[in-house]
Symmetry: C2
Subunit: 337 residues, 2 copies
């Protein structure tokens, strides 16, 4: 552990000093959840907190990658540095997206103000959000002004990643099918800003109007869950703005950047602060949960525990009784399972 | 709790006796994770274990709901009873799917051998798999021969639900886009049987051939993770069969039912047993994790813990140090956070 701590600290220092290879190595460590990553995040965390973390999510085909490319261009024009964490099997980096996007991204290969990284969406549910949050911390500490978390918003874990951001953008395309419409409802709950992309298509205005109508009748969006009673001393969150962009031409992207800034500025009224507190709770629980999970799987290979689990598999013991026994042995390792 | 236990036992008895309203109420309790549900599952679990649990997953648009309807029809012809748990925003029950599917499902409104239930895909990641597994236990104990778990396979949680089944079917449609192809790779890892649906479309044979080629070069599918060293005394899992169906006409659906039976029969060689052991471990961990989570959120509202979390939110304390403190107070409640 001590060696890992030294290595983590070295990588952290180098990444903050602008060494892009060290940054890439550190993000690999974060992705693999190594002790090096933990040591680095422990060290970097106090220096992080200045970046604007923006989650970008939406159904496949809504144009997330193209919008991310357009946002990078717009942010660079405004003199800001941008890092992207793409937790998305269709990300340009992993090769799923259209060739045009990949070419667009390659334009930044020599620009030190842009850093793009894909993260595998494997691993157990919940772990994804923890890993992405750690990656965002590293990029934040490395000095990027804007950190974009891109996820394909069709599963609970992916939504959790996006919802862990300061500002969550949900992307829609005009007139997507019934099935996608249904997915939309769940996604809209986490949206701070809704973007109808492919604005040059005929249905764009109508889709935007429908979304505005939906957002008027449905309850105000719930932020990431927190037990801290944030509702008591903070104003209620505003209904999300609905914007139209055409990411492929850049139309509307400057307006989106401005909307992101407005949402962030609203943090001065406590909205983003509440999101940060909820994120801290989720982040700490993710670490606690992972440690307990490791402990549980350690227990599971002990003969006594294995026979308990086998009894459940063979329906001789119900899982709740087994859980009670294992919980006791987890909390107090002297208790035999 | 004692009253809940009595109510849970009553509902469990009634559900097993064939009372469909009691069964529906019990599944609502499972969905809401009440003490009644826990009491009922504790009681029903020893009587469960005879049903064949089949996970059916795939990208939106692959035709899952139509295939489920076709499988119901085929299973009923074979004299088997079928229950469906649809964890899918596009499920016919929640209204997302095509009208044709809903009409097809309504044909079973008066058939006691068919029971269809949708489950909301909300809630925290991981909880979804736990809830679905409990629902499957209830339906299994209620005597259904075949329990289908239908999920939209685009997120980690949804994949976990499907992977919790005895047999996991991954559905593909011919020539879906690049983006969907990429999602596919992750899904294929959990597949026991791969079905190319919409077999009447031109690309079906080619897609099936591509999938067979992919499955030959990629490593054998990983089953749901288990720490129990199942690989030691069980044969390696076989590569998944690739079948072609046209769910809308019923073509190939009898062959799919036969493939499901073959996969189940292979359980006698230990394959399905290994899956059941892994599922038991996952199921017990889900319950343990939920209890610890409740305890954590209980802790989080205590002033000492809240101030720890606030320090994390304000970047005065790193999340790992906070996690260490909270873990200690979780495991030993006398330790102040």
């Amino acid at each position: 552990m001590s060696e890992d701590r030294i290595r983590g600290a070295e990588l952290a220092e180098a990444a903050v000093a602008g060494d892009r290879r060290a940054l890439a190595k550190l993000l690999t460590a974060v992705e693999n959840r190594t002790a090096i990553a933990e040591a680095a995040v422990r060290r970097l965390y106090p220096g992080a907190g200045s970046a604007h973390l923006v989650g970008i999510t939406g159904a496949p085909g809504a144009g997330k990658s193209t919008l991310v490319a357009a946002l990078i261009a717009e942010a660079r024009l405004a003199g800001r540095t941008v890092a992207v964490v793409a937790v998305d099997p269709s990300s340009p980096i992993t090769g799923g997206a259209l060739l045009g996007d990949r070419v667009r991204m390659q334009a930044y290969a020599t620009d030190d103000g842009v850093f793009i990284r894909s993260m595998a969406s494997r691993g157990h549910a919940g772990g994804l959000a923890a890993t992405s949050t750690s990656a965002a911390t590293v990029l934040d500490a490395a000095g990027f002004d804007l950190v974009l978390l891109e996820t394909v918003g069709t599963g609970q874990s992916e939504v959790e990643v996006a919802a862990a951001a300061d500002t969550t953008v949900v992307l829609e395309a005009p007139d997507m099918g019934d099935e996608v419409q249904a997915i939309k409802a769940g996604l809209l709950e986490v949206a701070d800003i809704v973007v109808v992309n492919k604005g040059d298509r005929p249905g764009a205005q109508r889709t935007a109007a429908q979304l505005r109508a939906m957002l008027t009748v449905t309850p105000a969006p719930r932020r990431a869950a927190s037990s801290l009673g944030e509702g008591d001393d903070h104003p209620a969150p505003k209904r999300p703005e609905v914007l139209i962009t055409t990411a492929s031409t850049g139309d509307g992207v400057a307006a989106l950047l401005a909307a992101l800034d407005r949402h962030r500025a609203a943090g001065r009224d406590g909205l983003v602060d509440a999101a940060r507190l909820a994120r801290a709770e989720a982040q700490v629980w993710a670490i606690v949960s992972e440690r307990l999970r490791d402990r549980f799987h350690g227990e599971a290979s002990r003969p006594a525990t294995e026979s308990t689990l086998r009894a459940v598999a063979e329906h001789r013991l119900d899982p709740y009784t087994a859980a009670d026994r294992l919980l006791a042995s987890l909390v107090d390792p002297r208790t035999p399972a």
